[in-house]
Symmetry: D2
Subunit: 152 residues, 4 copies
Amino acid sequence: MSSRREIEGIETEIGRAVEQMIPFNRVLGLKVDSLDPKAPRLRFDMRPELVGNPVRQILHGGVISATLDVVGGLAIALASFADKAEASLPRHFPNIGTIDLRVDYLRPGRGLHFVATGRVVRIGGRVAVAHTELVNDAEEQIATGSAAYIIG
Amino acid sequence: MSSRREIEGIETEIGRAVEQMIPFNRVLGLKVDSLDPKAPRLRFDMRPELVGNPVRQILHGGVISATLDVVGGLAIALASFADKAEASLPRHFPNIGTIDLRVDYLRPGRGLHFVATGRVVRIGGRVAVAHTELVNDAEEQIATGSAAYIIG
Amino acid sequence: MSSRREIEGIETEIGRAVEQMIPFNRVLGLKVDSLDPKAPRLRFDMRPELVGNPVRQILHGGVISATLDVVGGLAIALASFADKAEASLPRHFPNIGTIDLRVDYLRPGRGLHFVATGRVVRIGGRVAVAHTELVNDAEEQIATGSAAYIIG
Amino acid sequence: MSSRREIEGIETEIGRAVEQMIPFNRVLGLKVDSLDPKAPRLRFDMRPELVGNPVRQILHGGVISATLDVVGGLAIALASFADKAEASLPRHFPNIGTIDLRVDYLRPGRGLHFVATGRVVRIGGRVAVAHTELVNDAEEQIATGSAAYIIG
């Protein structure tokens, strides 16, 4: 059985990987807001370089799709790790690859900061699916996503 | 009827908007490679901050989804403008919003530079759909996309 | 203002259209389970001709995608009608066309009967988006969907 | 090495499975038009029960999504079989499950008969992706699709 300390160690490692080790995540400014395996959250602040429409001062759609992809993968990584911990299987930092992604852009990406949440809706040994959403600081739903991942 | 000069003026304006006026496009380093309305192309170089996996040194999935979104919107903007020019309608810089986007990640995003192409598969007065693809410098297909846009 | 009786009349008309006037809906055996505009539901029974895998006796994926498309359109139709009723605008049977559809197949379609639910997540004058799901009689989530519609 | 006769035997088996063994495919009236592994085709005739809009007499969107799902899976099955034949691996009727599906509805489904084509764009040991399209008898593109499949 995994000790609580071991699990926390891996979670810290995952958080650090998301925030610091992936260069483009730093460009997006992603910060871990929660590592709850049921619904992990990433947070980022609006910054001038993330703008897609300078007149309307809203997020670029690509910032939204990128963040939803990352938070979905994070949800899968945490769930995959938790599954193995429960089964007392050897654990390692899971290698997750996005197979495909859908994003629905629901409202203009206006706000001072944004929170993305991922939720696993299917997980198997090889393929997993996550639903994701992005809300702004007024709790308005900016976008939702659905993505399939391969678990390496 | 639109003179060729007028059309070129608008095309130049569109190219400048894509490359310079949209802050996050500058982060991605997008350059116009072709404004052929049938299949416009954007190009960008691999740069360290675009990496999603530092071990494998491949593009972040978000760079891919962002670029496919932009090149699909560019294809719609050019087609929408061409349609109006043909009908001698008043033209203006078209306002295109992404409704939704699907991306299929087919191969790891490895390469020195990448070219994204957009093709319009449906265009109406209000809604349009584009198919897109990203290839690397070895002409390998890295990803394909399909996206619906609202024409404002 | 629309009287309650008028609204019920239109709702009955919509229900009858879904169940009886659309030939392929009869093939699927779709029955209106709820016309709640916030979350309308369709229901259908497993029948031999809906099977996609005769060994496993599970629903054909096409039965699932078809049903999710219909229930999403139903949600949009009811919401579009409700919006106009509130604004005292002239109402008519709304003409809804699917722009695109994503379906995630989460579990094998096993069960005696199935319930599909649609929820509007974006509605404008021209374009709307619905999220949908299909559950079996054991309340297991068989599939989820996301679809964009044009409002005619 | 597989003899040509063995390969033809499996192909015949696949064709028979698609046309006869899957009940809902019979409802759709799907017939194998080509088993070319690079671009297999299914064909079906317009029939009254496939209609989605009785006024416009066009295909139900669910007929389209169902057919694109089947032809994509057929392309994966043939490619998966061909891969194993080439590698002299033991072959069996491949078990293909749809992970997710996107359909873009491009034109009303009007016509006397329709042809669906599937093309593999990614194939690995566990996950594959196909692009698909449906055209009518006037060669108009009615819909396109993109779907991910798990190979069992």
